[in-house]
Each structure stands twice: as C-alpha cells, then as structure tokens.
Amino acid sequence: MNASRLLVLAMLTSGCGGSAASDRPPTDATEAALQEGERKTSTDPAVNPDAAAMADFKGRVEGYAELHRQLAKGDAEQQKNSTPTQINDAKDALAAKVKAARAGAKQGDIFTSEVRAVFRRLVAPELKGQDGRDAKAVLKDDAPAPGSVPFKVNAPYPENQPLPSVPANLLLALPSLPAPLEYRIVGQHLLLLDTAADLIVDYMLNVGAT
C-alpha cells in the first residue's frame, strides 16, 4: 500500500471510531508514510522538491476547469433530468466551444516536461509489486481496442470504446483533478480527459517509463 493510499485511509478512518483495526493509533511507520505521501504531491516547496511543478500543474488544470465553467453555459450546459437528445446536444455544443477556445492547444500545454518527469516518478513505484501487477491487469482488462484512441489534443474519446478504469493506486498517487477532468490510462499512456465534453485535453506518452 502506497503512502497516498495510507493518507486517504487514515483521513477516512480517523473521523469516527469503528473497527478494531482502525482504532489502532497509526504506527511510526504509517506516520512516516503519510508524511511521505503529503510531501510527494504537496505544492509547498518546503516539503516537496517537486512543489513548483505540482503547483504549476495545479494552476493549469484549474485554469482549464475555469475555462470549462465559462463555456458550459447556454446551449452547452448539461442539465439534470435531461432527455438523451438534450444530453448529446449539450455535449456537442460544449465540445465545439472548447475546441474553438483551445484551437491552438498542443500536447504538453498541461503535462509540461517538468510535470511529466514528476508524474513518471510518482507512477513508476505503483507499477511494481503486487499492486503494480493488479494495476497492469486492470489496464489490460478495460483496454480499448488498439489504435482506437487518438492521441491528439482536442480529439474526442471514441464513444464506442470502453473508458479504461484507472487503477486506484495510480489515482491516489497522482494529484487530484478538478471536475470535469479525469485521468485515463490507455496502454502506456496517460490521458487528461474532459469527461463532460468527451475531449482529450492533453496526454503524455509512456507514463510508466522511468
């Protein structure tokens, strides 16, 4: 179990008393692991040597999320309790607006070279050991057909392909994302996906490579 996961579990189990296992105070090793997890994704340069890259990444994804919020209005706004036609029309309108607003976007605008280097360091340990084997199995299990996903900024994720589930250990090792962004891993590559517009916002190749 990695440090990030321990952190989340500790947060979840510290609020209320419950099972015998969770009533135990964290061990020194657990606390050290928690501190390590915080350090890895922190934007505080005092505790994380990658803080600058993490802060930069956070700013870029929040910038995208704000753009999305601005564009997801009027005919591009998804409404609760919609008909399928309304859902598809709003998605298409939103995708068109995002593509127009980001017409000049290119690979690496969000996954900058600094961010890519940090992400590879965060992901590599998660692909080792039993959790790593499980993660690889998940990626293989839910994989879309080879060649079906275009690695291209502003391209739509193909709707007739499964969305690969993101292995939970990888998800918790990476910085969290504001809605509607999600990570997806296709083969060896990491996608940043706008799940409301079904668009590829950015991608990085060979995220598991060290």
């Binding site: 179990m1 996961r5 989340v8 579990l9 947060m11 979840l12 189990t13 510290s14 609020g15 209320c16 008393g17 419950g18 099972s19 015998a20 296992a21 969770s22 009533d23 998804q78 409404q79 609760k80 309790n81 919609s82 008909t83 399928p84 036609t85 309304q86 859902i87 598809n88 998605k91 959790d131 499980d134 993660a135 998940v138 299990d141 839910d142 709707e159 007739n160 499964p162 969305l163 690969p164 589930s165 993101v166 292995p167 939970a168 250990n169 998800l171 918790l172 969290s176 509607p180 999600e182 799940t195 409301a196 079904d198």
Partner: protein
C-alpha cells in the same frame, strides 16, 4: 419409443418448472421491494427476456424501483441508443412507474448522469433513501479517487439508515476468469464499508450471477448477466455460495425489518437462487457466516475515536433453492 421418452421428460419437467416459477419472497405489506439488474445495455434476446420476466414478476411482486449496476449502454450513446438499449426494452416497467437508479460502468459515458430515467441527479456517485431505514449508495468504481471516498465516508456517517446498500460496477470479490476481483478498488472501498457498516453490495462487470460468501460481514452479489452472458467464465472458487454463468438473470429483493430476502430469476422465469440476509442478531456459526464482526454498531463521536461496539455480521440463509 421416442414419443414415450418425450412424455416422460415432460412429466418430470413440468412440476419442476412450476415450482421454480414460485415467488419465494415474503411479499409483506409495507416492505421495501426492488429489483437489481446489471450490464443491461445490450439489445438482444437476453435483455428482452429479462425485461419481460421483470414485468411479469412485478404483477406478483410489486417492486418500486430497479438498481442498475453499470454497463447501462454498450457502444455508441446517441439518442437512438438510449431508446434501443434502455427505454424500449424496459418500456413496460417505465410506463408502470418503476424508477431506475443507475451506476456507471466502464462502458458508460458520463453524460448518463443527466439522463432523467437513470435518476442520478447529475452525479457520478450519489445516495438515496427510498424508505425510512434503508439508504442506497451508487458508486463510480471506474474512478475511485479521494474525493469519492471522502464523500462516501461522509454520506455513510450522516446516514441514520439501518440498512446501507451499495451498488456499483466493478466487483470487489469475484470468481470470474475474465475479470476477477477488483483488488485495487477493494483496497480502498472495503475499509470504508467496514468502518461505516455497509451491509450489502450489488455489483456487475462480470457477465454472470454470483452470490459471494459474506466477506468481513458484508454480503456481495454480482448480477452482470441481465443482457450479456459470458458462459463458462465462472471459476470454481471458495468465494462462491452460488453462481450461474449460463442464464440471463435479474434479482428481486425485499427488505422487511432486519431481513433482506432475495430471489434471482432467469429470462425464462425460473428461480436460480434465493435466500435471506439477517442484518442483526448474534453471530451464529454456520456455512455463510463470517467470524469477523467488524461492522460498528454504535457511531461514536467524529472527534473522539473510541472503541467500537462490534455489530454482528449479516447472515446469509438458505444457501441454495
């Protein structure tokens, strides 16, 4: 001679068929009645057969709503697909007032959260309480991030419900050869279930039916065969109480007090599995009873963690029909 043999088969088969069409649920007035279906979004004879049987059984067992454990729409998701893959096959149920509550599977586009007939309220994970004392939690098992886990913990903590029932796509336990148990999701979700006393989970992804032995006090069901079937995929496993990978199926469920009754039925109307789960009571040694009662009964202060008073694990009764 051939005719004699046929008659003999019919004589043996008819009484059995009659017996298996019997409603095995108590059908008590005032109980909560619902259905569970999974991996439904594939038009075909399986989906049609299950939908027809659901409608037919509803005449005897008036369930109010149906849980969908993901795999709601396979392939493209245009307006016509919503019709072909959902609203047409389940039209009789929809017209009859049955509400469907969906969870997202790995083939499901996020746009589904806004589809009126899926009752997701624009959320990838949500909860609802159809009746006092029972709360359902729909999870997005495709993307188990810290936000969702925190949400689940808060919802479970705030829930005063006696029954806590989760439904989602990826099975935390499974004997399937193709997918198997979702170990990574389990590593994150199960501690929350145990901590806050989830009683039952319904899951899909595997295209078969499997009733899992209660794990650490939680009862798990896989019902991913309501429109797709993966014959021969169910491996022999110590996890299984009962499994079926040769029939399209759905579940009828009834909650009355501390008992949850279930009946799993195939697309021909035959009963595959039935039984009940007791939520309260002393832990009794038995085939399907966990010896690890980890579900807390009391809800201590959120500020001061205290020793938990263990709550007995649910017991699964009637292992086979």
């Amino acid at each position: 001679m051939r005719r004699v043999a046929l008659i003999a088969i019919l004589l043996v088969g008819l009484p059995m068929a009659g017996a298996t069409q019997e409603l095995r649920l108590p059908n008590k007035p005032g109980s909560l009645k619902f259905a569970v279906i999974g991996d439904t979004g594939q038009p075909g004879s399986g989906q049609t057969g299950v939908a027809r049987q659901m409608q037919a059984w509803r005449a005897r067992f008036p369930f109010e709503f149906a849980l969908m454990v993901g795999g709601n729409l396979y392939g493209s998701e245009g307006p016509r697909d919503y019709e072909k893959k959902f609203s047409i096959p389940y039209k009789a149920l929809l017209d009859g007032g049955v509400k469907f509550y969906a969870a997202l599977g790995n083939h499901d586009d996020a746009g589904q959260i806004n589809y009126k007939a899926f009752n997701m309220g624009g959320q990838k994970y949500y909860s609802f309480r159809p009746k006092l004392g029972v709360r359902f939690f729909a999870l997005d098992s495709n993307y188990v991030d810290d936000k969702q886990l925190e949400w689940l913990s808060k919802e479970l903590t705030a829930s005063g419900s006696d029954w806590k029932i989760a439904f989602f796509h990826h099975p935390l336990y499974s004997s399937g050869a193709t997918h198997g148990s979702a170990d990574l999701q389990r590593g994150l979700i199960e501690p929350v279930f145990l901590k806050y006393g989830v009683n039952v989970a319904f899951m899909g992804h595997e295209h078969f039916y499997e009733r899992i032995k209660p794990q650490k006090g939680v009862a798990y069901f896989i019902i991913g065969s309501s429109a797709k079937l993966r014959k021969g995929d169910l491996r022999k496993s110590a996890l299984t109480v009962y499994g079926n990978d040769s029939d399209y199926a759905f579940m009828l469920v009834e909650i009355a007090g501390d008992e949850m009754y279930f009946q799993t039925i195939n697309d021909k109307g035959a009963t595959l599995d039935t039984g009940s789960i007791r939520r309260a009571g002393d832990v009794q040694p038995g085939q399907n009873v966990t010896t690890q009662p980890v579900v807390p009964q009391a809800k201590p202060s959120p500020v001061q963690p205290g020793p938990a008073k263990p709550k007995p694990a649910p017991q699964t009764q009637n292992p086979r029909p």
